[in-house]
Amino acid sequence: MDKIQLAEFIKSLDSDLEVKEGKQYTEVTVPPSKIHSLASQLREKEEALFDFLDCITGVDYGHDLGVIYHLRSTKYQHMVVIKSRTTDRENPLFDSVSDIWETANLHEREAFDLLGIKFANHPDLRRLFLNSSWGFPLRKDYVDNDMITW
């Protein structure tokens, strides 16, 4: 399946999806509420079979907080990028995909730790690197008060 067919296929899954051709990969923008259903369809459907999750990147866009998923199929070797954004900076909530790909467990904990993005239904959402009193360092409005100088 080439990129165009893939884009057509993803469009057919849900009419709300915004599918566009990025520079490298097919990019799908999806509202936070639909991430889990889309992800499980991409994982299960025989035409797509995205069984390998490369990485989950949390991004602070200034106003919005977003999550970017890089998915790959080990059978067809094609790749898709799923993006999702929310404007809620206080309580950004996305659906966890750790029940679909086990590796998402740590990636989501990392995103939570560094950007404060929460994942619903995550089995074990705790800070990963930093202690609980620390801010969220990868947010653009993060101020480092303890700058070490010498």
């Binding site: 490298q24 999750l53 990147t57 080990t74 790909w101 086990e102 590796t103 740590l106 360092p137």
Partner: protein, 374 residues
């Protein structure tokens, strides 16, 4: 006395909890594993990270692209060259620069040398984890020759900082080819000794065969890449599936096994050293002439967009995801590091094995802790 009896609690709560780390001989760095035991049998393992978290992703947001490279050296310090390369490849792809053939071959040669020295250190430290301390010194002895090759050309031994966007920092040293051939000759001689000491050793077999088996389905779901994934039959070699640099012009085998236990993870790495030697053999005499770097603008600005690039490090697939807003510094950089993904499977694998097997399984994944923490 009475109180003490009360404290023991129910059978469920009776866990013998041991902290392995942050300072421990076999965690290979500062990492803490909280292990719940029943007798000597492991019930649960919980990794505690962050002891060496330096915020490299945050620091990258305030540095220009050439400056990022020296930080990536410090993630997976055993594969510093590949970490450099992945950023350079991403930048070059974004700028759509055509890279000279010489640079591609130099990068491939250096990558394979890096892979050999990293796997040598794995061999050395895995032997030491299992109690054969002599392995450690033999491994380091031969690794020293590779480090000398690095030092002669790049000036650095582990932290090479050899790549830059558009090429490499310096040309190859005139002695490079001679030294590499010397090393290969020596290494071909000592590799059978490695087998005699460890690979064929009956005690080593007892300690690793059948320990921590990982199925193909789990390997994909947990995102296990590199030799660890290939030991489970997961064909995930980026060099094969998405060739970069000069990998499209060399012949090599992707080492695949199906057992997925600690022994085959070990064996995959030892075999990869042989494959790497083959790749170097094919390239070392045909290094094309030409410039060692493209002339770049003094200030590199990436066009707005998102760029994802992956390479194969000795431990698995390393991905870099750069979001650029058109400035000279990236808007967001995310590293998909192989060790981070490989770590997630640890708890799944060790349950029900002995504490000695925990060390064996942990060692067989060849974790580099700074790469996990970043």
């Amino acid at each position: 006395m009475e109180e003490k009896v009360k404290d023991i609690g129910t059978d469920e709560q009776q866990e013998y909890i041991i902290n392995i780390g942050p300072q421990h001989p076999s965690t290979h760095g500062v990492m803490r594993l909280v292990v719940s035991l029943k007798g000597e049998t492991v019930k649960n393992v919980e990794p505690h990270l962050g002891y060496i978290h330096r915020g490299i992703e945050k620091m990258c947001e305030s540095l220009t692209y050439p400056q990022i490279i020296h930080l990536t050296d410090r993630m997976d310090y055993l594969a510093a060259h590949m970490n450099n390369e992945v950023v350079c490849l991403a930048v070059e792809k974004a700028l759509e620069i055509e890279i000279p053939d010489r640079v591609k071959v130099i990068r491939t040669l250096m990558s394979e040398l890096t892979r050999i020295q990293s796997h040598e250190l794995f061999w050395a430290s895995y032997g030491m984890d299992l109690g054969g301390q002599t392995c450690y010194f033999y491994g380091l002895r031969d690794r020293e020759m590779v480090l000398d090759i690095f030092e002669e050309t790049t000036g650095g031994r582990m932290i090479v900082s050899y790549n830059c966007p558009g090429g490499v920092m310096y040309d190859l040293h005139p002695n490079f080819q001679k030294r590499v051939k010397e090393f290969l000759k020596h290494f071909r001689k000592v590799l059978p000794e490695y087998d005699d000491i460890l690979t064929n050793n009956v005690i080593f077999h007892e300690r690793t065969v059948g320990i921590g088996p990982l199925s193909l389905k789990d390997a994909i779901s947990y995102g296990i890449t590199g030799p660890s994934g290939r030991a489970s039959g997961f064909s995930c070699d980026v060099r094969k599936h998405e060739p970069y640099s000069a990998y499209d012009r060399v012949n090599f085998n992707e080492v695949l096994y199906t057992e997925g236990d600690a022994f085959h993870r070990y064996l995959a790495r030892v075999e990869e050293m042989r494959e790497s030697m083959n790749i170097i053999d094919q390239l070392i005499d045909n290094i094309p002439e030409g410039p060692y770097a493209v002339k770049m603008k003094p200030v590199i600005k990436l066009p707005e967009g998102e760029y994802y690039q992956r390479v194969e490090t000795p431990r698995g697939e390393l991905g870099v995801f750069i979001i650029s807003d058109g400035n000279k510094t990236p808007y967001r950089v995310h590293f998909r590091t192989p060790n981070f993904a490989n770590l997630s499977v640890l708890n799944h694998l060790v349950k029900g094995f002995k504490i000695a097997d925990l060390i064996s399984i942990f060692g067989s994944f060849d974790y580099v802790i700074p790469d996990i923490d970043r």
